[in-house]
């Protein structure tokens, strides 16, 4: 299940949903990304996520399907927020449910790595003095590439 939304999400509610929907779950792996307090050494005031409506849903479905093809999963949840967020706010949620832990953990890791480089989002960070579009990190590309093996 994928969702692209402005509103916050609840890890707990999503876990409950997954557990209701699927039987025989043995492993639940989750990841939550959160807005940090700082940009380098400056205090961060806000982070605004711009996205490409339509393409976002398309890419999230693609990433989700890729995970389902690669691992033996029972269910997955991907929620990505957009709009203006404050330090401490949740940005993204990934949950993978499977019978055994390896599948849940690896697929959750995979999904967040692919979201970093393939999710059509752009982050604008505001500090007291200035605003910055966040550059993509070369490390994120390397993290993505490790899943090509």
């Amino acid at each position: 299940m994928i969702k692209v939304q402005k509103n916050d999400f609840s890890l707990n509610d999503e876990m409950v949903l997954l557990k209701k929907r699927y039987n025989n779950i043995g492993a639940l792996s989750s990841f939550i990304g959160i807005v940090r307090d700082k940009r380098e050494d400056e205090k961060l005031l806000s982070m605004t996520l711009e996205h490409y409506p339509g393409m976002t849903e398309k890419m999230l479905n693609k990433i989700n399907n890729e995970a389902i093809n690669r691992w033996d999963l029972l269910g997955t949840t991907i929620i990505h927020r957009y709009g203006k967020l404050l330090p401490g706010d949740q940005i993204v949620l990934v949950i993978s449910a499977s019978k055994h832990r390896k599948e849940a953990i690896e697929s959750c890791h995979f999904i967040i790595d692919w979201l970093k480089t393939k999710g059509p989002f752009w982050k604008y960070e505001k500090t007291i003095d200035k605003g910055y579009w966040v550059d993509a990190k070369s490390q994120d590309l390397e993290e993505e590439l490790k899943w090509n093996n």
């Binding site: 990304g33 711009e50 490409y52 339509g54 393409m55 398309k58 990505h80 940005i91 993204v92 967040i112 790595d113 979201l115 970093k116 480089t117 393939k118 999710g119 059509p120 989002f121 752009w122 982050k123 604008y124 579009w133 966040v134 550059d135 993509a136 990190k137 994120d140």
Partner: protein, 83 residues
């Protein structure tokens, strides 16, 4: 043809989208970029280093040499920073 811009590209151009009439000689993304660069200095500045700019055709990641048609939706954006 609908053309969308995101992130700093949108800021530099001062717009998030526009309708562009393309003629028969515009066959690829590369052709479209040449057309845009000839419009004014803003476009010239944005597209001066296209290695840092990604493109999509109808919401699918694309390459500069890919063919385009009049009813396509094209978008230009910097590398994605999701998650």
């Amino acid at each position: 043809m609908k053309v969308l811009y995101f992130s700093w590209i949108k800021d530099k151009l001062g717009k998030s989208q526009e309708e562009i009439q393309i003629k028969d000689n515009i066959k690829t993304i590369n052709d479209l970029i040449i057309l845009l660069k000839n419009t004014n200095e803003n476009y010239k500045d944005v597209f001066k280093d296209i290695s840092s700019i990604k493109v999509s055709i109808n919401m699918e990641t694309a390459k500069y040499e890919d063919s385009i048609q009049d009813n396509d939706e094209i978008a230009f954006f910097p590398p994605m920073t999701g998650g």
